[in-house]
Structure formats: structure tokens, C-alpha cells
């Protein structure tokens, strides 16, 4: 098992280098560039732009810059942001806790709400509760995140004054309660898509399992219904969901881009978005590498969870 994990990690490292090479190339092939923002600023003169281009090393070919960037990365330097002049690692370090907190709570909310919803729907098939949940999840799945976020703000923040509209803290307040109140809406909005899709997948997976012979046998040998559901049905139905969860990990990260923007949440997503808009290459690369690493980690974790769920699966 540990040999398997070590092999997967080594593969992941190679994959990440390949991803970085392709991303760097595509990023540089896009029209414009980090200095495009200045080209139409009447205050910035032509020689200033030439100077900035030279100072930022943008007059070198992209593969030469890529080599420098990769070399720096190997030594633990992520480079400096073109815009703030600050180390990329420090900028990410400031925002990572906020994003991970948001992702974690959204993930927990998604598990906590989708599993009971899926179980209820599968065990109450075609009854009104199941229909309501079906309608609700398709509706949630179809709605754009930003719209749902703004509607929640208007309802809970402006009309009912139950929760703050945006931000992470009231100005000058640092209490945990204040933080949690600010976290509720963005986490719910971020987790909503996962809640909707996981509960649907779980429902259909459960319905498949409920018809299996061993489930009938379990009932026949007199096991209590709840125990059958938990030990035999749910556990066997979770494998497809676990795959989905692994793949949703980077989706939560990219979803955070929209959610953090709507709710003014000071996290990585916003940093990444503004890096994309400003063509801040070093920051952009950091964001791309983090989401690629999350995707690889997510699928590795999913593979390892299979083994925990299904004793027949063994890795060598």
C-alpha cells in the first residue's frame, strides 16, 4: 500500500511539471500580456513600458522564463507578483487559510446535507418528499452560483438582517461567532452544487443497491432496517460518490473564485481571478499549480477511500 502511494506521488510530480509547461506556454500565447493594462493609460509613456518590460524580464522568450520559473520553484521560490512586487508565496499564505476554511465547511455541509437527502429520497422513492428533493436539487444545480448568492444576500442580509451581506468580519470585530456568521452564506453557496449532485448520485446508487440479493438476505436474517441501510446499503453505494467527491475538490477551489468575489471573502480565489485579469504570470502559475495539485490529490484520496470502503479493492 505504501509503495503504491509513493509511486502515485512520484507520478503526480511528473504530471505537475507537464501541466506547468503546458500552462506556461498557453498563458504566454494569449494575446496582450502583463503590460497591456498600461498600454491604454495616458499617464504611462512608451519608454516607461519598455523599461517595465525589461525590469520584469518580459523581453526574454517564454521558454527561458519558464526555465527560470521552474528552477526557482525547485528551490522553493514561487517568484514575485508583477503587480505588488511581493513574494507570491507570502500572498498565497495570507489567503490560503480563508479559502481552505471556506472549502472545508462547504465540503462538510455538502456531505452533511447530501447523504441524508440521498438516503431519504431513495427510501421514499416517488413519494412527495422525494419529489420535493428532486425538484430542489435540479433547481439548485441549474441556478448560476452568483445569482443564488445575490438572492441570499438580499433575503438574509438586506431584508431579514439575519446575516452580514459580505466580508469575513465586522470592522474591528474578531470573535469566532462573527466569523461563523460571515461564513454561513458563502459556504452554503459554494457547497450547493455538490449538495445537489451528490444527493442525486447517491439516490440512484442506493436504489441500485437496495435491489441486490444480499440486501434481501440481510433483511431476511432479521437485521434491523437501519442497520441494513447503514452497513450493507450505504457503504456499498458510496463508491461512485467518493469518486465524485475527489473530483469535486478542485471544483470547490475554482468555485471559490466566484463565491469569494460575490461575498467579498478574502481568499485565494479572488487573488487568482485578479491575477488572471492582470496577466500576473507568477501568481497565475501558482493558482494553476494549486488547482492541478488538488485535482491529483483528490483522485488519489478517492482511490484510497475505495480500499477502505470495499475490502475487495487492494493496491500493490
Amino acid at each position: 500500500m505504501s509503495a503504491y502511494v509513493a509511486r502515485r506521488i512520484a507520478q503526480a510530480a511528473v504530471l505537475l511539471v507537464a501541466v506547468s509547461f503546458v500552462s506556461y506556454g498557453i498563458m504566454n500565447a494569449a494575446p496582450g500580456g502583463p503590460l497591456a493594462v498600461y498600454l491604454h493609460n495616458p499617464q504611462v509613456t512608451p519608454d516607461k513600458i519598455d523599461l517595465l518590460r525589461h525590469q520584469l524580464g518580459l523581453d526574454r522568450p517564454w521558454y527561458a522564463r519558464y526555465a527560470t520559473w521552474l528552477g526557482g520553484l525547485a528551490e522553493g521560490h514561487w517568484g514575485y507578483s508583477y503587480y505588488t512586487g511581493r513574494p507570491v508565496l507570502a500572498m498565497i499564505g495570507e489567503r490560503l487559510p480563508a479559502t481552505f476554511m471556506l472549502m472545508l465547511v462547504a465540503f462538510a455541509l455538502a456531505i452533511g446535507l447530501s447523504v441524508p437527502a440521498g438516503l431519504y429520497a431513495a427510501t421514499h422513492k416517488y413519494r412527495w418528499g422525494d419529489n420535493v428533493l428532486s425538484f430542489g436539487s435540479f433547481f439548485a444545480w441549474a441556478m448560476p452560483t452568483f445569482w443564488f448568492g445575490l438572492m441570499l444576500q438580499l433575503l438574509l442580509g438586506v431584508q431579514l438582517r439575519l446575516l452580514p451581506v459580505a466580508g469575513m468580519h465586522e470592522i474591528g470585530v474578531t470573535s469566532a461567532g462573527d466569523f461563523v456568521r460571515h461564513l454561513v452564506m458563502p459556504a452554503l453557496v459554494l457547497g450547493l452544487g455538490s449538495i445537489a449532485s451528490w444527493s442525486r448520485y447517491l439516490r440512484s446508487s442506493l436504489l441500485d443497491t437496495l435491489n441486490q440479493d444480499y440486501v434481501r438476505t440481510a433483511h431476511a436474517k432479521g437485521l434491523p432496517g437501519r442497520r441494513v441501510l447503514r452497513r450493507h446499503v450505504l457503504r456499498n453505494s458510496l463508491i461512485p460518490i467518493v469518486t465524485l467527491m475527489g473530483l469535486d475538490l478542485p471544483a470547490l477551489f475554482s468555485g471559490a473564485v466566484v463565491t469569494e468575489s460575490i461575498f467579498g471573502w478574502p481568499g485565494m480565489g479572488r487573488l487568482f481571478l485578479s491575477a488572471l485579469n492582470n496577466r500576473d504570470y507568477p501568481l497565475q502559475m501558482a493558482g494553476l499549480m494549486i488547482s492541478a495539485a488538488l485535482l491529483i490529490t483528490g483522485s488519489l484520496l478517492a482511490d484510497l477511500t475505495y480500499a477502505a470502503l470495499d475490502p475487495r479493492i487492494k493496491y500493490r
Binding site: A30, P31, G32, A36, Y38, L39, H40, P42, Q43, V44, T45, P46, K48, D50, L51, L52, R53, Q55, L56, Y80, Y83, T84, G85, R86, M91, E94, R95, L109, I111, G112, L113, V115, P116, L119, F146, L150, Q153, L154, G157, V158, R161, L163, P164, V165, A166, G167, M168, H169, E170, I171, V173, G177, D178, V180, R226, R230, I262, G264, L271, S274
Partner: protein, 526 residues
């Protein structure tokens, strides 16, 4: 059912969190406003984003400043003189001014600001005018003498109106250290407020500076929140979390108007919407450009697309400002006249109704940046109006990067019309827009004259204007420059944007115009 227990526990935890009592109430003495982007750098000479200016404006002063009524008034300086040849400018500084860290402000700081702005190793973004300075003398702590390389009339706006930075902090640093200095996040200035907290992507807190040389600020603190989404900003205003929202999006204006306790301040922004005419083929012909100006329904755009939140434009000088040529008026919409002009110019209608000259069809595609609904509506309306006079147009909305980038419409060597907006200061410094020397060679070479307008008379006038230290003479030159803009139509001036700021009812002393806001030290909140 462990999962459902987890869910139940989470729900209970969320429900148990008490609702705040301070919700939606900005306390007295605190003023809360909002910007869209995280300020990238609070050093006025190093920043790239507009949001940075919205924060450092409370921190730094310049020798002279324009007040919100458009008049110059002394700030860090008390007086200036200029030699008759326009090459020597002498400043008398205000005595007794201190930096917010307690150190005295002197002529050395003013001299250092020039050295910083022209330091080639620092990532300077804003240095217009400083490059005209040959040397700076500081005969005493309150006296600065600038010697210019040549007479430069915009010196007052460009250099004497530029923020002064502290020599005692930045002077000892190397260029590389300046680029990454903590000063860039926690600047030290002479202004009414000082940055006391900067939480990245969340907010900047500015506290009243007790050492400020001017009237004591009435506010205790200004908080600038950083919220990227404009709709969220409006929701914050509606929830009572903001004292001021600059630039309410037009789509939410009625919504804000209906909100009790919020007032709207309407003013003309120094930003105009234009159609850039890339002069390659037919667009090199003045008559074609004038005809297109007549064929553009500007009044209808203002009324129907901008919903009245715009004012007609006729030149690049803001109409309520001191430099506008009041004698000019926009060409009215007159499709018949436009068509007649083109026919007289040698065009003949082809079989499909498109005008043809020398066997070539009059084809002008209309482009704009995607994402702004009003721009795309304008594009369709203008294309339709141009088709009506026999111009073949198709419309394309693309990203700004694609519009202005290397493969964009400006570089394919054929006529194109680009709709976008351009910011223009209140003061004339528009050489880079109209001088033939500023026609860009490719997408990576700077130069604002992307329409490729070239006119020797314009080039000469722009040179003369830079040398005209005498204000009356300078005004006459800019009047002429605007006449030529109107005559030659290097671009079609569509309109000036109207901005609407939302102000909470408990705010006093705040007002705004094209030139700026009332001084922040006069603002208060109850």
C-alpha cells in the same frame, strides 16, 4: 446514520449563533466606503490599479491641489513663481508640516520625489512631467527651485499637483528594496489620514492623522472595504453597511433611489465614450469620418441605452471644465446628409445597397469589448444606423485583450471602428492621443494614437501648447485643437459618462463633482 447526525449538529450550531446587533449600522465617526480591487501598491508612483489611488489619496498631499470646484489651491506649498521663459519654477513650501511618523516635511522630500519618479530601476508607473526636469535646487528647507530642460506648460498639473513621498523613509533604500518595501502597504504621508491596518482583499483602515497640517479631521477613521462584485456593493449599501458607494451601476440606480436613508449625488465623470476609427483605407478620408459622425445617433444612445446617465461629447475636454471649447456643438444625427456627403465624395450605391468607390466596398466592421451590456447595445445600434447609409458593417464583441492585442482589429491593416471609453484628466495633456509620433507600431508598442491620426498642424499645436506657459495663449491653442478634433473626426465623440454616488443619510460634509470630492477632513458621520 452518522452523517445525518453531523448534519443535524451543523444546523444546530449555525442556528445557535446569535444574530448581531450592530448589523447595518456604521458607527459615528467612522466612514465606510468600498473599492472593487485589492489596492496593489499604496506608493503613488508604483501603483497600477485605480483602487490604490482611492486609498492613498487620503494619505498623501501635493504642493498644489485642485479642489472640488475645479480651482487650484495651495497645499504643501503656499506659493509658486515661474520665469518668463517657462523653464524655472520656484515653490515656497508650507512651514511646520510633519509626516505622520512625526518627522518634519522639507524641500528634501520634494526633491527626492523627482529622483524617485525618474529612477529607472524602480517599477515607476506614473512620472509624466518629471522627465522634463533637468535639476532641482533646495536653497532652504521651505524652498524648491525646478530647472526644466524646456518650457513645459502642464508642469503645474503634472508635477506640482503630484503627491510628495518621504525622503527619510525611501531615500536610504535601493531600487529593489523600494519595489518591495513595507511602505507600499503601510505608507507614511502628510495627509489627513494614515493607514493603520491593511487586511489584504478585505479592508484598509485609515485613522485621522493628529499631525495633519490642515483642519483637524472630523472623522475618527475611514474604512475602505474591498468587495469585487458591484451587486454585492449595492447590497452592502442597502443593508446600511456603507457610508459611500462611488459609481452605482446604472441597472441598480432605481433600486438605490428607493432605499430610505440613501441620497444620490450625480456628476459628470471625466471619462468619455468614443468610436475609434482606424485610418487605413476609406477612413483616411475626412469626409467619410464626418459622414459617419452624422450617421451616428448619439442622442438616441444617451436616451435609450444610457438611460440619460450621459452628456453629449464634442471634444476631449470635459464640458463643465475650464478647458472646454464652448463654441463647438456635436453634429446632429442626419442620415440623409451623411449619405449625400458620401455620394458627393465619389461613392456609388452597389447592387446590394452598399456604397462602392473605385471598385471597393465601404466596409467598416464595428467592434467593442464584451461584458458590458451597454457597449454591446451601442454597437448594434450604431451598426444598424451605418448600414442605413450604405456602409457594410458586421459587429463583434470580444475581450479587451483581443480587441487591443496583437491579433486585434487594429493590426490587420483594414478599416475598423472600435467602441470603448477613454479617461481624460480635467487638464489638457493629450499629446499622446493625437500626435503622429504616438501612432503605435504594434500591439506591444505603446502610444495612444491607435486611430493613426496624422496632421502636421495638430502636431505643431501640441508642441506649442506644451511651451505656452501663458494661460491665455495656452487656452487659445487648446480651443484650436478641439476645433480640429471636431473638424477632422479622428474619433467619434459619443458622450461623457454620468456617475452616481450613493451617500448614507448620516453623512455630512460630503459632495462630489467632475473635479473631485470635498476634502475628507470635512466629512463626518453621526
Amino acid at each position: 446514520m452518522r452523517a445525518s447526525w453531523l448534519a443535524a449538529a451543523l444546523c444546530a450550531a449555525l442556528a445557535a449563533v446569535p444574530a448581531g446587533v450592530a448589523q447595518g449600522a456604521v458607527g459615528a465617526g467612522t466612514f465606510v466606503t468600498v473599492v472593487t480591487e485589492n489596492p496593489d501598491n499604496l506608493n503613488p508612483y508604483l501603483h497600477g490599479l485605480l483602487a490604490s489611488g482611492s486609498v492613498y489619496r487620503y494619505v498623501f498631499d501635493s504642493p498644489f491641489t485642485v479642489d472640488w470646484t475645479g480651482n487650484w489651491k495651495p497645499a504643501l506649498a503656499t506659493a509658486y513663481t515661474v520665469s518668463p521663459d517657462g523653464k524655472t519654477w520656484t515653490l515656497t513650501l508650507r512651514p511646520g508640516v510633519r509626516w505622520s511618523d512625526g518627522r518634519p516635511f522639507t524641500s528634501a522630500d520634494v526633491k527626492y520625489t523627482w529622483q524617485l519618479a525618474t529612477n529607472k530601476d524602480v517599477h515607476i508607473t506614473y512620472a509624466t512631467g518629471f522627465d522634463k526636469i533637468a535639476s532641482v535646487e533646495t536653497p532652504s528647507a521651505t524652498e524648491v527651485v525646478y530647472h526644466l530642460k524646456e518650457a513645459y506648460a502642464p508642469f503645474k498639473e503634472q508635477v506640482m499637483g503630484a503627491p510628495v513621498v518621504p525622503q527619510h523613509i525611501l531615500g536610504p533604500l535601493s531600487a529593489d528594496q523600494i519595489n518591495r518595501a513595507p511602505f507600499n502597504q503601510r505608507p507614511v504621508g502628510t495627509g489627513p489620514f494614515a493607514v493603520t491596518e491593511f487586511v489584504t482583499d478585505d479592508h484598509v483602515t485609515l485613522t485621522a492623522n493628529p499631525l495633519y497640517w490642515g483642519p483637524k479631521p472630523k472623522l475618527r477613521q475611514i474604512v475602505v472595504r474591498i468587495v469585487p462584485d458591484q451587486n454585492t456593493q449595492v447590497n452592502l449599501m442597502k443593508a446600511g453597511d456603507l457610508s459611500l458607494l462611488v459609481g452605482v451601476p446604472p441597472a441598480r440606480l432605481d433600486d438605490i433611489r428607493r432605499t430610505p436613508g440613501v441620497a444620490i449625488k450625480r456628476y459628470l465623470a471625466p471619462v468619455y465614450q468614443l468610436i475609434q476609427l482606424d485610418e487605413y483605407g476609406f477612413l483616411k478620408d475626412v469626409t467619410v469620418r464626418q459622414a459617419l459622425d452624422f450617421a451616428t445617433p448619439k442622442a438616441s444612445i444617451i436616451k435609450n441605452i444610457m438611460k440619460g446617465q450621459a452628456e453629449p461629447a464634442v471634444s476631449d475636454m470635459v464640458p463643465d471644465g475650464p478647458w472646454a471649447n464652448k463654441a463647438l456643438s456635436p453634429r446632429p444625427y442626419d442620415a440623409a446628409r451623411a449619405k449625400a456627403m458620401l455620394l458627393k465624395d465619389g461613392f456609388t450605391p452597389g447592387p446590394d445597397g452598399v456604397l462602392v468607390k473605385n471598385g471597393k466596398r465601404l466596409e467598416i466592421p464595428v467592434w467593442t469589448t464584451s461584458g458590458r451590456q451597454t457597449d454591446e447595445q451601442m454597437m448594434e445600434l450604431i451598426a444598424q444606423a451605418w448600414r442605413a447609409i450604405g456602409v457594410a458593417t458586421d459587429t463583434r464583441a470580444v475581450s479587451a485583450q483581443a480587441l487591443f492585442g496583437q491579433n486585434g482589429p487594429q493590426w490587420n491593416g483594414s478599416d475598423a471602428a472600435l467602441i470603448y471609453s477613454w479617461g481624460q484628466g480635467v487638464f489638457p495633456e493629450d499629446r499622446i492621443n493625437w500626435a503622429s509620433a504616438y501612432i503605435p507600431k504594434d500591439a506591444n508598442s505603446p502610444g495612444e494614437n491607435a486611430e493613426r491620426y496624422s496632421n502636421p498642424e495638430m502636431d505643431r499645436l501640441l508642441d506649442e501648447a506644451d511651451r505656452a506657459v501663458d494661460e491665455a495663449k495656452r487656452r487659445a491653442i487648446y480651443n484650436r485643437i478641439q476645433e480640429i478634433q471636431h473638424r477632422d473626426v479622428p474619433i467619434i465623440f459619443l458622450f461623457w459618462f454620468v456617475n452616481n454616488n450613493a451617500v448614507a443619510a448620516n453623512v455630512q460634509g460630503y459632495d462630489v463633482s467632475t473635479f473631485g470630492e470635498t476634502p475628507p477632513e470635512e466629512w463626518s458621520t453621526r
